[in-house]
Amino acid sequence: MSITIRVNGTPQQLDVDPEMPLLWALRDVLGLTGTKYGCGEALCGACTVHLNGQVVRSCVTPVRRAANAEVVTIEGLSPNAEHPLQKAWVELGVPQCGFCQAGQLMTAAALLKKHPRPTDEQIDQSMAGNLCRCGTYMRIREAIKRAAGGPQ
């Protein structure tokens, strides 16, 4: 079955099982390996992408749900890694091992789009599904605030 999705602005035609997780299509079929496989059960957030602007866990999202929809991955967050969050991430040296960070950034980007100056509570509630085993949570929160132009 052929499914057409727009990934980072480019139309892509996929001849795959419609039940294939979107993450598989992104990584194995389209070669976009920035999005990571963590738990496979929507419990860790490493596979977070945007589907029509909404945060979804691509490891449990069947690719059929993305048919004729717009998918944005970490590769498409900004043309030259210049999203305010990416700049803040670099300035503050947020990642440690880095494995979860693509997912962290995608959720944070959706948060800032909805709440340009989020409160601590809004940050905590929205980021609660993105786990970081290195424990970089405090730097993540600080970087989100910096990207939002708020007090450091």
Binding site: G40, E41, A42, P62
Partner: protein
């Protein structure tokens, strides 16, 4: 002495009746396993219309208060999960429209159907019941009163409530098809629909406050 004996017998009878009532099952109804519902016909042994209506609602409340249904009718902003009704993991919050907050929307993980491999439960438009429709911690009486109150039932008529229970194909139906190894709600949706319809036909009477399912 005879008077004292009479008082004693009367008291004992009252207590016995009270204890039956507090279990919610009139003594004339045969017991059923926890995973089954009584048929509407079983309630015909209760001659009094009001008592029959009350008993029918108690039967329906065995579904409403089953964790499979009550977990997403929390009296707060966090849904529960599992038969132990523990807080949902990952930690999610209700959000402004009962569909979660940005980055943690229900549909970010829950699909339109159950996932076999990842075991994430799913049904169309997965979301929390509004706060005013909370069931957790409520008695059958309290649930009955709020179910009949258009201000707390989404503006539904009694007929619409019957229809919702009997034929909703999404979240209500999911209660009996929860996927993975989750225990379904008691009985079948068809049985629940018939029980709620019979409850309405008998006057939609609410059980007494002390009655439990």
């Amino acid at each position: 002495m005879r008077t004292l004996f009479r008082v004693g017998v009367f008291t004992a009878m009252t207590l016995a009746m009270g204890s039956c009532r507090s279990r919610g099952v009139p003594p004339s109804l045969a017991p059923v396993p926890d995973n089954q519902l009584r048929a509407v016909a079983d309630f015909s042994v209760i001659a009094d219309r009001k008592a029959r209506s009350q008993a029918l609602f108690v039967e329906a409340s065995r579904v409403f208060l089953h964790p499979r249904c009550a977990n997403c009718h929390p009296d707060g902003d966090v849904p529960a999960q599992g038969m132990e009704m523990t807080a949902h993991q990952p930690p999610v919050t209700r959000g402004p429209d009962n569909h979660g907050v940005v980055g943690m929307e229900c549909a970010g993980c829950h699909q339109d159907r159950n996932l076999v491999q990842a075991r994430v439960p799913g049904a169309p438009d997965w979301h929390l019941a509004p706060r005013e429709m909370a069931w957790v911690g409520k008695t059958p009486h309290q649930i009955c009163e709020q179910l009949k109150d258009p201000k707390r039932n989404g503006g539904k008529s009694l007929e619409a409530i019957v229809e919702h229970n009997a034929h909703d194909k999404a979240l209500v139906a999911w209660g009996w098809s929860p996927g993975h190894d989750r225990e379904p709600a008691p009985g079948t949706q068809e049985q629940l629909g018939a029980i709620v319809a019979a409850w309405v036909q008998t006057g939609a009477e609410c059980p007494r406050e002390e009655v439990r399912r």
